[in-house]
Structures are given as structure tokens and as C-alpha cells.
């Protein structure tokens, strides 16, 4: 039997050994769904259909995530605390890069990933279409609205929402200068002092799409005149904001605002009246994973109250949970208090991807 | 019957890329003799030696040892250097700095997997022969040039090779040491009876040490012979002037004046000089060589009919053991080297003379 680097029998080896399963590549969806007769077990305080003993035997979780280093490490920390026998390892990259990576690997016949977390629905749909996700219906799905699950259920779910408004440096922007709505970010006084995210960011794509819908195609052309600085992560944006390297950021994520404020940074957050742009953060178990039981267990954990509490309270994450029974965020604010701007037609949204990339990269000089 | 040759080199050609260094060289070496390849730098002597050693690959020709080819272009044979059973002393000594003197000398024996006791004996013996036995445990890099030279020598013959190749081994030593080492080397070679091929550009060395000399120029052999032959009877102008210094005189063959087995040459200036053909063919135009040391100078006309002429001294150059006198002879300039001369002021009229036996016809 062929062993991968960690001494576990690879799925490929199982297949080679003659287990009669069709060896399909990316093209067709995998049809390994759970037999309906199996009933969920309870581990810690949540329900799971995974074989926990087997998962602990598998002993390893490979997690591909869009979050920054500290955030991803944070998620892993949470899981590992609850399941110390399962070692965690991760790869992080901004959504665009992450998705390219996993596709390239799968195309070359490498299936090394257990769970995938993305910050954009468009690649999630794509991955689902390509049969990349494992079909697994978690017993915890009951706590989620259909809107926040894949269609059909069982491919991915919304592990949280990342809302963003405008944020600025309170020492440099005072009184009436402070922006109030989205249109205020177009003020020429912000030229050379405003930041945004790079085109690989899922949230940035959402913002581009939504504000364009709201304010017309010219909105971003005006924005381009301000020669914004683009960065990979919200931490970089707020780092610069708090030090004054940038005066204002067009895409201030609420979680980062909470984090930096708690550190004593002089930053302020603005929730425009038209609403906060938000992107779902989607998690799904990956097809042909090297540790399939661990993958399922993780999905259940992440979906559960326990996992969601972790996601919501970890300072590097501060996600807003979409679980129907979720408590308010640590700041006391509940998600429902925000007006959230989402794409309604995810298909139309996905189709705009190429246009977005071209325009956004062009704006940044690439 | 001629003794069987030990080493035979036949029509050897060696090139470096497009540049030919050795263009067709042939000679033989008999057992126990020392043959010297002599010539100016760039003549191909070192290349020839290295080709015999196996360190350069020729492009044509054949090299045989005791009749068996170690290199043959025609038969596609090229025995690697380490398998030829020859030995070599390098110009730079090539002493291995990270080993002791003992280990340096013992190397060849260790390669041949001899026993430790045998190695010890042979090494001590070899070092004794070159008077370096006291230095056996010294680190090789701490020796002086002359000492390194001796160790290199001991290393080269300790495993009793039948052939020793020398690549200008004395050229890095100072003059006095060179002169002494020359004699020591010759003695050693005789004592051990090893066939040697020796490369040098130093005339004195070649004349003192060799049984035979091969004079080379521009990748070709100019002349082969014993030191005496080459000195007395040079074949070409080059050899005449390279081996000792010589004056060259050109002129018309005056067959009508030939007498007593001598030939007569008339210079363009009208002087007639008598010389010896020594078996070479004499055409209508002749060139003869007169060694500078054979030209006599006297203030008065010496006795004798032939080869006496008046001349004028142009300048003299004091050289210690001899004085070099530049003479105007008709419209030609000659050089004479004389020992213990009375001072000759410039412009003095003198008489010069030379024994016809010493006037050698150059040619094939």
C-alpha cells in the first residue's frame, strides 16, 4: 500500500488495490454520500456523522484557508484544542490564489486537502460544479437557513460573514471631514491616502459588484483616480490605518476594526446607511481528501455552536455567525443590526468575475 | 647490432584545439640512456614529454615502450597515464603539501599495495640517495625549493620505474644550485640505470647530462645526436646558433679554389673562407658556421695561408670568463669570444683567423 508522507494509506492506494470505484478526475462529482441509516453521534457538545475514532486514527487535518496567518492558525487552534489527537496543518493564501492552487494540484492528480475555506461564493460554486467538494450533510445543518447552505445541501456552508464598511484614522480625519456614506470615499482629498484590497480578495469582488450596482459603472472609475494602495489582508489595511500610512480605507472589515480598537489604535468605523458589503466565508469538506473522517468531523465542529463560538470570539477572526441561534458578537452587536449588501443573483455575480479582475488590476497598475 | 630501443616515438603530432604544438616528431631512446629534448620555449618539447607520459592526447603518431605501443593513432590505443608504468619529475615539484615527506615518497609504493615494512625500507633508502633522510617526518610544505626538488626525485624513482621523465626540473633553482644538482642527477641516473627523457631549454644542462640530444623548434625536430656531434657539426643555422654561439657566413661555392678536401666560399665582400663539408652536399650557394670561440684574434698577422684576414674591432664586452669582441670583417660583422685577452680599443686593426676544420658547412 502506498503511504503518503505521514504514513497513512492514501485513498489512491485504496483505489489501486482494487476497490471498485471509478477513478474520476475533476469532471464528475463523487458519489460517496453517507448511508441514510447511520445516525449521528454526539461528541463534546455537538452532533457528528463522522467516525470520531477513525478520525483520531487518521490524526491529521490539512486545511486550505483564505484567512491571514494568525486567523488560520487561530481556527486550527480551536479545533486542535477540542481534538488534541488530530494534528493540524494549513496553507493560507488569498482566495484567488488559494483556489488556483487547489485546482492546479487536483489537475495534476494531487489530492492533499481535507477542508477548504474561501471568502467568496463564486469559486465555491465553481468548485461544487467541478465536483471538488465532498457531499456530506452535517447533522448540524438544521441550525442554518437554506440561504446559508449550498444548493443542494451538503457541499458547503457559511461559517460566518465578514462585513465591511469604511474606516479611517481618527487623528487625521476629524469632524465634518469624516465620511458617512459610500460616496464619500470618492472625495479627491483622499488621493494617495486611501487603501483597498487586491483583486484576489473575495470581499473586494463583492464590494465592487454591489457598489457598482448601487451607484453605477462610473463609481469605480472615480475611485481609480484616487490611486488607492491595495493589500492582501485586512490586518495590513488596519496596520497602516492605525499608524497613519493611510488616512482612510475603502473596505474596513468589522472584525479587524474590533481587533485594532482593542489594541488602542485610533481608528473609527463607519457603517454607511446604504449598508455594509459582506461576503460569506464558506467551508466545505474536500472530495478525495487524505483524511476523510477528519474532514467531516471538522465540518460538524465548525457548524456547531461550539465551533461558531470560537470563530466569533477569536480575536483574529471575529466572524459574524449566521447560525440561527447564534449569540451577538463580542462587541454586543448582533449581525441582524447591520444592513448587509450581498449579491442576490450569485450566477450573475460569478459571471462578472473576469470584468472585475480586468478593471481592478488595471486600476492598480497591473 | 644496434641496441634494442626502450622508447620509440614515431611521427608524433599533438595539437591544442586548432593550434599544433608538435608537428611530427620521431626519436628513439635506448635502455639506460638519458635523452634530452632541447629547444626554446614554445618548441613543443614539454608537450612531447607529456604526451609520452600520457598527460596529453596526441592526434597522430605512435609511442612504443619495449616494442609495445602505449599510444597509437592507427590502432586506436591510448593507455591512461597511470597505467603506463613511467615516472615523472615536474617543474614545480608537485610536492603534496598536506602530507609528510615520507608519505610523499611512499605514495607510489602505496598505490602498488606494497607491505608497510617494504615501503619503510624503500623510502628510507630513496631519501638517503638524495640526502633527505633526516627530513622524513617533516611536513612537505616546510621545505625549501632545493629540498622539495630532492624529495620529488626520491618519490619518482622509489618504485623502481624503468623510465624517468623530467620536465625542466632544475629551472626553478638558482644558478649555483642548478649546477650542483645537474651533476647529482646525472650520477643518480647512472647509478640506477634508469632510462631518462629530460626536457630543458638550458644548453649547459643538456650538454652536461645527455647521452643524446634532440633539438626541437616549432614542433619539429631540428637535429638529433650526441652533445659533441651537435656542438661540432650543427646541421642548420638555428642549431648552430642555439647550441653555443656561432657566426654564419654566406657565399658562393668557389669549387675552383677547393683543395685538400676543403671547400672554398667567397663572401659578397670578396673574402674567401675555407671550411669542411663533413659529408653534407655542397650546392652553389653555401652557408658555413664559425663558432665564436673558434675565431682567433691577434694584433699581428699570424702564420698560415688560409683563413687569415685583416679586420677591425668595433667594441669589446667584458663577460668575466671570456670577452666578447665585435669585429667588422669586410662589410660583415662577426663576434669572437676570447679568454684572457689584452685590452683591445675600439677601432684597432687586428687579424682574425680560424682553423678550416672549425668552419662547418650547414645543410641537410
Amino acid at each position: 500500500m502506498a503511504h503518503n508522507k505521514h504514513g497513512h494509506i492514501t485513498r489512491r492506494a485504496l483505489l489501486k488495490a482494487g476497490v471498485a470505484l471509478p477513478l474520476v478526475g475533476i469532471a464528475a462529482p463523487n458519489v460517496l454520500s453517507q448511508p441514510l441509516s447511520k445516525s449521528p453521534s454526539t461528541v463534546l457538545d455537538f452532533q457528528t456523522n463522522a467516525d470520531v475514532a477513525k478520525a483520531e486514527q487518521e490524526g491529521q487535518l490539512v486545511f486550505y484557508c483564505h484567512e491571514n496567518e494568525a486567523g488560520t492558525a487561530g481556527i486550527m487552534q480551536g479545533f486542535n484544542k477540542d481534538f488534541p489527537k488530530i494534528k493540524t496543518s494549513y496553507v493560507r493564501a488569498q482566495t484567488g490564489a488559494l483556489y488556483s492552487k487547489i485546482l492546479a494540484e487536483r489537475q495534476a492528480g494531487r489530492f492533499d486537502v481535507d477542508v477548504l475555506q474561501l471568502s467568496d461564493l463564486a469559486p465555491a460554486f465553481d468548485f461544487q460544479k467541478k465536483g471538488g467538494y465532498e457531499h456530506y450533510e452535517s447533522p448540524e445543518s438544521g441550525a442554518y437557513k437554506q440561504d446559508n447552505l449550498s444548493t443542494p445541501k451538503g457541499y458547503f456552508f457559511w461559517t460566518g460573514v465578514d462585513p465591511a464598511g469604511i474606516a479611517y484614522n481618527a487623528e487625521k480625519v476629524t469632524g465634518s471631514d469624516a465620511p458617512k456614506g459610500w460616496k464619500d470615499i470618492l472625495d479627491p482629498r483622499w488621493k494617495g491616502k486611501i487603501s483597498c484590497k487586491i483583486s484576489a480578495s473575495g470581499l473586494q469582488f463583492v464590494q465592487w459588484y454591489m457598489l457598482r450596482k448601487l451607484y453605477g459603472d462610473g463609481f469605480w472609475q472615480e475611485f481609480a483616480k484616487l490611486q488607492p494602495h491595495a493589500f492582501d489582508s485586512r490586518v495590513q489595511l488596519f496596520d497602516r490605518l492605525s499608524k497613519g500610512d493611510d488616512t482612510i480605507t475603502a473596505i474596513g472589515e468589522y472584525p479587524a476594526y474590533i481587533l485594532f480598537k482593542s489594541r488602542g489604535a485610533k481608528v473609527e468605523f463607519v457603517a454607511p446607511a446604504d449598508g455594509l458589503v459582506a461576503t460569506p466565508l464558506v467551508v466545505g469538506a474536500v472530495n478525495k481528501a487524505p483524511h476523510p473522517e477528519v474532514a467531516k468531523l471538522f465540518v460538524d465542529w465548525a457548524m456547531s455552536k461550539r465551533g461558531q463560538a470560537w470563530y466569533q470570539t477569536n480575536p483574529n477572526l471575529y466572524y459574524a455567525s449566521v447560525r440561527t441561534d447564534a449569540p451577538p458578537m463580542p462587541t454586543g452587536v448582533s449581525l441582524t443590526q447591520f444592513k448587509l449588501l450581498y449579491p442576490q443573483d450569485w450566477d450573475d455575480y460569478s459571471k462578472q468575475s473576469a470584468t472585475f479582475l480586468k478593471e481592478w488590476n488595471g486600476m492598480l497598475g497591473l | 647490432m644496434a641496441p634494442k630501443p626502450h622508447i620509440e616515438v614515431e611521427n608524433l603530432e599533438v595539437s591544442f584545439g586548432a593550434v599544433p604544438a608538435v608537428r611530427g616528431v620521431s626519436f628513439t631512446v635506448t635502455h639506460g640512456e638519458q635523452l634530452t629534448l632541447l629547444g626554446p620555449s614554445g618548441c613543443g618539447k614539454t608537450t612531447t614529454l607529456r604526451a609520452i607520459a600520457g598527460l596529453e592526447k596526441p592526434v597522430a603518431g605512435e609511442i612504443r615502450i619495449d616494442g609495445a605501443p602505449i599510444y597509437s593513432a592507427a590502432r586506436n590505443i591510448n593507455v591512461p597515464a597511470e597505467k603506463r608504468g613511467l615516472s615523472m619529475v615536474f617543474q614545480s615539484y608537485a610536492i603534496w603539501p598536506h602530507m609528510s615527506v615520507f608519505d610523499n615518497v611512499a605514495y607510489g609504493l602505496r598505490v602498488r599495495r606494497e607491505e608497510a615494512a617494504a615501503i619503510r625500507n624503500k623510502v628510507i633508502q630513496a631519501l638517503a640517495l638524495v640526502q633527505m633522510q633526516a627530513f622524513a617526518d617533516r611536513r612537505a610544505s616546510q621545505l625549501s625549493g632545493g629540498q622539495q626538488q630532492r624529495v620529488a626525485l626520491a618519490r619518482a624513482f622509489v618504485f623502481q620505474p624503468s623510465v624517468l621523465l623530467f620536465d625542466e626540473p632544475l629551472s626553478n633553482l638558482d644558478a649555483k644550485l642548478r649546477a650542483d644538482m645537474r651533476i647529482e642527477l646525472r650520477d643518480l641516473q647512472h647509478r640506477l640505470g634508469i632510462t631518462s627523457i629530460y626536457v630543458t631549454h638550458d644548453l649547459e644542462e643538456a650538454l652536461a647530462m645527455s647521452d643524446h640530444i634532440v633539438v626541437m623548434r616549432d614542433g619539429l625536430v631540428e637535429q638529433t645526436g650526441t652533445p659533441d656531434d651537435i656542438y661540432r657539426l650543427p646541421r642548420s643555422a638555428f642549431v648552430a646558433d642555439f647550441i653555443g654561439s656561432a657566426n654564419l657566413v654566406h657565399g658562393r661555392n668557389r669549387r675552383d679554389l677547393a683543395t685538400h678536401g676543403l671547400l672554398a666560399l667567397e663572401t659578397p665582400g670578396g673574402q674567401v673562407i675555407y671550411g669542411n663539408a663533413y659529408g653534407r652536399s655542397a650546392g652553389d650557394e653555401l652557408t658555413v658556421s664559425v663558432r665564436t670561440v673558434h675565431l682567433q684574434i691577434s694584433p699581428q698577422r699570424p702564420a698560415g695561408e688560409r683563413n687569415v684576414w685583416p679586420a677591425r674591432v668595433e667594441k669589446t664586452v667584458f663577460q668575466g670568463d671570456f670577452t666578447q669582441v665585435h669585429i667588422l670583417w669586410g662589410d660583415q660583422r662577426l663576434i669572437a669570444r676570447c679568454a684572457a685577452l689584452d685590452p683591445l680599443p675600439a677601432g684597432q686593426e687586428v687579424f682574425i683567423s680560424v682553423d678550416p676544420k672549425r668552419v662547418v658547412l650547414l645543410g641537410a
Binding site: 490539512v62 484567512e67 496567518e69 494568525a70 496543518s89 496553507v91 493560507r92 484567488g96 490564489a97 488556483s100 495534476a108 494531487r110 492533499d112 469559486p123 483583486s199 484576489a200 490611486q227 494602495h229 492582501d232 490586518v235 495590513q236 496596520d239 497602516r240 492605525s242 499608524k243 497613519g244 500610512d245 489594541r263 489604535a265 488590476n361 492598480l364 497598475g365 497591473l366 | 607520459a53 600520457g54 598527460l55 615502450i65 619495449d66 616494442g67 609495445a68 602505449i70 586506436n76 590505443i77 591510448n78 593507455v79 591512461p80 597515464a81 597511470e82 608504468g85 615523472m88 615536474f90 614545480s92 608537485a94 603534496w96 605514495y107 598505490v111 602498488r112 620529488a152 618519490r155 618504485f159
Partner: protein, 573 residues
């Protein structure tokens, strides 16, 4: 006599049989060729692929991607101008320091010469991070000092092309110092003395004699340094991208990070870059191969050291200033930032914290990345000297036919920026049947490949200093190739091999361009993980991480230097 004849004829009957030499020589040549050419093939294939980017192998070939390059004139221009500026600055700094340290009697010369290498060890990434904290127009410490002193605005903006060039010159420019220093040391002082004996003043001598003699060497160094600057990645990433200033390497990085990644354009960009570097290196070798490598045994020139009188003290200050700017200041800055919550020049008392250190210790990057890097460096150095030693022997000492060709193959990675090479490797090894992709093995292969020029050149330099007559003499004593290697060549080369080992170790630990693309979840290494940290964590934490890693590596290197010094002296004795 008979014995001889028999022995010779026995050997003669086997015409040149396949020897150990040939097996080793051609074997290692094949390895080198595969390592280098396999990724390049994939790179070129991607550059010429005009079909659907998602399907492999490519469906259509064409030059469209190169045409697309015309849409990015600014990037090309940026690359050339910043490299040019950096080269100029590096040459000036290098020349001045080389002059001071080899030609004047400034106190502490030998110590300074050793210390000149430290900026190189610190890596340009660290320098860029530190200078970013020092010179950002708003938050930079220097600018904060400036404002505290009453100035307005900023006195230095490190995010400009000049700023980028400055940091590049400081940290990647020590190569210029080494090369120019070598040129100055190899100059025969008699040439200058001749000039002065005739009566020329010192200045005139410098201008009319020294400078012209030194210029070919300096020119060679210039071209080499320029080629290095073209491939620079870390500095442009940290200082350039925030300001929308892209050069080819950072543009390639961004292009392949997107979804869908613009592989083909990136490949075309990379290919165009290495065409430029190839031309530069060709010119460089033309200029340089005029000289020979062999140091005439025992006859090293002793450069004439001029007594500059009281100027010594000024020059001493210049040297100290250089070290402060390139070593002390950056490290101090990072240290200062690492102990603050939000790094400012004048922190309030409650801004100090050790949280950053606590957090850093628990991060992936500190623990596993460090371990991986050290293990990888060890493996790279050890396998490297064997591989590169054999290659150096093959190219410069063996007389096997075709050896010259291998020299071009081996030097090829020099012409390709590491990032671009890794890009080709990514595709090449992804499709490889043996699953090394994403593991430390892939990084090992990548390092061995990109360090080929460095390792071979270093070992060759040492090898060529050993007179070949030492080997030939052993041959004449009857020793086979393996015996000679074991008893003569390798022992003589040990000090040089040890130095090469250390060099490879350090190069491996500081590597960024190739590693950043080829790292996998289980094969994180130091320098790229600092970059990842810069992307995704607060700058104070990044600074902390960078410091921890630098000190651990410095400690490891210090230990190794001591150990290797013992080893080489032991073997030689």
C-alpha cells in the same frame, strides 16, 4: 623490463575502457542537465501557450503572450530603472568600501572586511521590513523624529523607486564590494609605484593608472550586480507594492496569485527577463574570461596600503556608518517595534509589551518553519558540495568531451530570477509521478538547482587554485582516479569545500524567491513565512518573527563556523 612490457601490453590491449571517471562525470552532468532544463522547458512551454490556460498540455502555441507584454511598459521600465539605480548605488558603496578596506590603513580593516558580509546574511527582506518602519512617509521612525524636531511632512520616503534602490543596494550590494575588492587586491602595486616614481601625484596616479586598470573588473562587477538586481524580489515586494510600484518579479507574483492566474503572461514576463539577464551575463563572461583563475603559486600580490594620515579616522567613521545603516539600525528598529503594541517612534509607557514574542513563539513560522529551514539547509549544503564538487571537477579539470557544454547548463540558473525559475519548477514537478510536490524534497531540489552557479563557481575557484600538476604527479605514480580523489584532490580541497558548505547553508536559509512558490503545508521555511506574516499580521508581530528567526539562524551559523574551522584545520594536519 619484461615485466614492464607485459604490464603495458596488458593495459594497452584494453583501449580506453569505460572508467570510473566517465561514469561519475557523465552521471553528474545528466543530473545537472535534468535539474536545470526540465523546469526551463515548462517555463518556455507556458510562455508560448496561447490556448486555454486551464488545459494541459497546451493546445496552441504562439507569441501572443509576448505581445501582451507590450501592455505593461511601465513594469518593464520600473524594473530597468530601479535595477540601474540600485546597481549604481551598490557600485559606489562597494567601490568606496573596497578602496578604504584594501588600500588605506584604516584601523580594524580585517574586522570590517568580515563584517561587510553581514548585510548579506541579514537578507534584503529584513532590510526592507526595517527600512519600511524607518522610512514610511507617515509612520516611519525617522520621519517621526523629523517632525518631533520641528520639521514638516517627511524627510525620507522609502516607498519610492529611490528608496527601493537604496535598500536593494545596501543589502544585495555586498557582492559589489567583494568583487571590486578582489580586483583591487589582484592589482600589481608595482604599476602604481612606477607611476609615482616618475613623479605623478597620488591623485593623478589614481586617475591615470589605478582607475583604468580597475575599470574592467568594476565593469564586470557592474554587470553581475545588475543581473542580481533584476531578479530582486523581497525589497520590491515590501516597499514597492504598497505604492503601486511593480517590477517584473513582483508583477509575476501578483499575476499568478489571482484566480484565474495569468500563468502565460507571467511566464512570458519571466522569459523576457531572463533573455535580458542572459545577454548581460554573456557580456560579463566576455569581459571576465580575459583573466585566468590560477593564483601563481606563492606569488600573491601584496597590495600597497597607503598611509592616509589623519584621514584614517574619517574613513573609520565611514565604515562604521555603513555598518550602522545596514546592520545596526535595521535590527534596532525591528527590536524597537517588536516590543510595542503599535510601533511608534515615541511610545507611551503602556505601549510596551512582550505579547508579540509570546504570539510569535506559538506561530507555525517560528517553530516548524525554523526547523524545516535548518534541516533543509543542512541537506542542501551537504548534498550540494558533493554534486557541485563533482560538477566543478567535470567542467574545469576532467578532460571528458562535452564538459564545456555543461558549464553553460550549470550557469543557466544565474540568468533566471529565482522566482521565475521556481515558477517553471512548480509546473515541472507538479506533473512528476513521484509525489515530491509540496514537500521539503521539492525545496531541496529547487535549492540545489538555483544554487548550482554559486556552488560550482565557489568550488571551482578553490579547485583551480590547486595546481593540476599535483594530480598529474599522482597519476604518474600509478594512482587511479578514485585513489587520487581520495588521497590528493579531496584532502587538498577540504578547506574550500568547507567554505562552500557554509556558503550553501547560509544561502539556503535566506532563500526567498523559489521557496515562496514551492512551499507546501508541511514544508514551510523561514524567509517566505516572514513574508506571509507581513501579509497577514501586524507589522510588530512580523518584526518579532523576523528577529527571532534571524537570531536563531545566526546562532546556528556561529556554531557551524566554529565547528568547520576545527574540521578543516584538523584534516589539513
Amino acid at each position: 623490463m619484461e615485466r614492464h612490457a607485459r604490464a603495458v601490453s596488458a593495459a594497452a590491449s584494453s583501449t580506453e575502457s569505460v572508467s570510473a571517471q566517465k561514469i561519475a562525470g557523465y552521471g553528474v552532468a545528466t543530473v545537472a542537465a535534468v535539474l536545470v532544463l526540465y523546469p526551463v522547458f515548462y517555463l518556455l512551454q507556458a510562455a508560448l501557450d496561447v490556448g486555454d490556460p486551464q488545459t494541459r498540455p497546451p493546445t496552441a502555441y504562439g507569441l501572443d503572450n509576448f505581445e501582451a507584454l507590450l501592455n505593461y511598459p511601465q513594469i518593464m521600465l520600473n524594473t530597468l530603472s530601479v535595477s540601474f539605480a540600485a546597481t549604481l548605488m551598490a557600485l559606489v558603496i562597494g567601490f568606496i568600501m573596497a578602496w578604504i578596506l584594501t588600500r588605506t590603513n584604516v584601523p580594524g580593516r580585517l574586522v570590517f572586511e568580515q563584517l561587510m558580509a553581514v548585510p548579506y546574511y541579514l537578507t534584503p527582506l529584513l532590510g526592507a521590513l526595517a527600512w519600511s518602519m524607518l522610512g514610511s512617509p507617515e509612520s516611519g521612525f525617522l520621519n517621526q523624529f523629523w517632525r518631533a524636531l520641528g520639521g514638516s511632512g517627511h524627510v525620507i520616503d522609502i516607498n519610492t523607486p529611490y528608496g527601493i534602490a537604496w535598500v536593494m543596494a545596501l543589502f544585495e550590494g555586498s557582492v559589489a564590494f567583494v568583487m571590486i575588492g578582489a580586483v583591487m587586491k589582484s592589482m600589481d602595486p608595482a604599476l602604481e609605484e612606477a607611476s609615482q616614481v616618475i613623479g605623478a601625484s597620488r591623485l593623478r596616479t589614481m586617475l591615470r593608472v589605478t582607475l583604468p586598470l580597475v575599470i574592467p573588473g568594476v565593469l564586470g562587477a557592474a554587470i553581475f550586480v545588475f543581473a542580481e538586481m533584476l531578479g530582486s524580489f523581497a525589497v520590491a515586494l515590501v516597499l514597492g507594492t504598497p505604492n503601486r510600484y511593480y517590477v517584473i518579479t513582483t508583477a509575476i507574483y501578483q499575476l499568478i496569485q489571482q484566480y484565474p492566474p495569468r500563468i502565460q503572461v507571467a511566464a512570458a514576463m519571466g522569459t523576457s527577463l531572463f533573455a535580458v539577464m542572459f545577454v548581460m551575463l554573456f557580456i560579463y563572461r566576455r569581459i571576465v574570461t580575459a583573466g585566468s583563475y590560477v593564483t601563481i603559486t606563492g606569488k600573491a600580490f601584496r597590495p600597497r596600503v597607503a598611509d592616509v594620515g589623519r584621514l584614517r579616522h574619517l574613513l573609520f567613521c565611514v565604515c562604521v556608518l555603513y555598518l550602522v545603516v545596514s546592520v545596526v539600525l535595521p535590527i534596532a528598529t525591528l527590536l524597537y517595534a517588536s516590543v510595542q503594541k503599535i510601533a511608534v517612534a515615541f511610545p507611551a509607557a503602556d505601549n510596551f509589551t512582550l505579547d508579540n514574542f509570546r504570539a510569535a513563539m506559538s506561530m507555525n513560522a517560528a517553530g516548524s518553519a525554523l526547523t524545516n529551514s535548518l534541516i533543509l539547509a543542512f541537506a542542501t549544503a551537504t548534498i550540494g558540495i558533493a554534486l557541485m564538487g563533482l560538477l566543478a571537477w567535470l567542467i574545469y579539470r576532467s578532460r571528458l568531451p562535452g564538459a564545456g557544454l555543461i558549464e553553460y547548463v550549470v550557469m543557466f540558473p544565474q540568468a533566471v530570477p529565482r522566482l521565475v525559475f521556481a515558477f517553471g519548477m512548480m509546473w515541472a514537478w507538479l506533473a512528476f509521478p513521484i509525489p515530491i510536490y509540496g514537500t521539503l524534497w521539492l525545496l531541496l531540489i529547487a535549492y540545489l538547482t538555483v544554487f548550482l552557479p554559486l556552488g560550482v563557481r565557489t568550488i571551482a575557484g578553490v579547485m583551480l587554485q590547486v595546481d593540476k600538476s599535483l594530480d598529474e604527479c599522482a597519476q604518474m605514480c600509478g594512482a587511479s582516479w578514485m585513489f587520487r580523489m581520495r588521497t590528493i584532490s579531496i584532502p587538498l580541497l577540504v578547506p574550500g569545500l568547507v567554505a562552500a558548505w557554509l556558503l550553501l547553508f547560509i544561502a539556503s536559509v535566506r532563500e526567498l524567491g523559489a521557496s515562496i512558490l514551492l512551499m507546501g503545508p508541511h514544508s514551510k521555511v523561514i524567509t517566505p513565512s516572514i513574508v506571509e506574516s507581513w501579509f497577514g499580521t501586524a507589522s510588530e508581530l512580523t518584526a518579532t518573527l523576523a528577529l527571532i528567526q534571524t537570531f536563531v539562524v545566526a546562532a546556528a551559523v556561529a556554531v557551524l563556523v566554529v565547528v568547520t574551522r576545527r574540521v578543516s584545520t584538523h584534516v589539513v594536519n
